[in-house]
Amino acid sequence: MLMPRKPPKGFRKPHHPNRHGSAKGGTKVAFGDYGIQALGPAYITNRQIEAARIAMNRHIRRGGKVWITVFPDQAITKKPAETRMGSGKGSPEWWVVNVKPGRILFEMSFGNETVAREAMRRAIHKLPVKCRIVKREVGEA
């Protein structure tokens, strides 16, 4: 699963990242022919990214390529159950990516558009956010 090699120095237990606004970059399909674009804000964990990737790869089986265009580099902490308040911040529990509306999450190249769309539809079911499938336009970089 995707995660930083070692927790970034000084950012081991960060505050929750802000969820306002829309994506400033990564809103166009850059590598493949199709992409999955988030339509809302969400924290997407590395497990959800991996589940979506597997769902896509299992459907297309062979002959395609999948790009993951987000990286879960933000740690989210959690205090253990039945613990009294205080005694510091909880321990890092998940690695997430802070996704904002408009962000392309995955890209795919595959010859058959119907199969590619079905693979992406299956991947969207693994994600905690409303998404749509977008197609690369001619001349889009």
């Binding site: 699963m1 995707l2 995660m3 070692k6 927790p7 081991r12 829309s22 994506a23 809103t27 590598f31 022919d33 674009q37 339509l39 991996e50 990737r53 790869n57 299992r58 297309i60 089986r61 062979r62 002959g63 395609g64 390529k65 999948v66 993951i68 740690a75 321990s91 890092p92 529990e93 690695w95 509306p101 408009g102 962000r103 190249s109 010859g111 690369r136 001619v138 001349g139 889009e140 970089a141």
Partner: protein, 202 residues
């Protein structure tokens, strides 16, 4: 490509409030500059602009009739879009003149199907060309029909219309044809191997 005639109004109010009021009125805020002229802030009709850009892309030449009586020939230089609604937020227009040669990025379209069992990666979506602004093509086509794995399409392979010259190295790669990954390759493609969860709890 033919020019598109479009009427524009001079904008008198600026900033996000003024820009939002312009958008609510069905117009797109734009700025017109180039050739040493002072920038002029204008508003363009959103529907006409969107239709022209959809058809001609970034190489569509506009013949702009401004409300103060002046006209200008311009080419879109930068377009800001809403990532969700895909509407135009703002357009930068560059003044051009007939007969001059300008450098423009033109879209490249791959045509045809590569050989079976291959995967085509589109490396470069646009190519810079030198041309008269009134004779810019909306796209350049390059054929990938029947190409085998390991072959490559470069800028030199693109058939350019007359009067248009390539403004980059002809060896620049546009598309590469790879052998399609097998099922085994795709199954074991996990980006990073599973790491013990203790790594997180340092």
């Amino acid at each position: 490509m033919s020019e598109v005639k479009i009427s524009a109004e001079l904008r008198m109010e600026f900033g996000k409030g003024g820009a939002r009021r312009t958008r609510r009125a069905g117009k797109v805020p734009a700025v017109l500059y180039g050739h040493g002229e002072k920038p002029r802030h204008i508003a363009l009709p959103a529907r006409e602009l969107a239709a022209a850009i959809r058809h001609g892309g970034m190489t569509q030449v506009f013949n702009i009739e401004i409300s103060d009586g002046s006209t200008a020939l311009a080419l879109p230089k930068a377009i800001q879009r809403d990532p969700i609604k895909d509407t135009f937020e703002h357009v930068d227009l560059l003044i051009v003149r007939r007969g001059e040669r300008i450098m423009v990025e033109v879209r490249v379209q791959l045509v045809g199907e590569a050989a079976g069992g291959t995967l085509v990666t589109h490396e470069r979506a646009t190519l810079p060309v030198l041309a008269d602004p009134t004779r810019l093509p909306d796209r350049l086509e390059v054929s990938i029909a029947g190409l085998e794995a390991g072959s490559q399409v470069t800028a030199a392979d693109v058939a350019l219309p007359s009067g248009i010259a390539l403004a980059t190295d002809p060896g620049v790669s546009i598309a590469i044809v790879h052998a399609a990954p097998t099922a085994a390759q795709m199954a074991g493609e996990s980006p990073v191997d599973e790491i013990d969860s203790e790594v997180i709890d340092v």
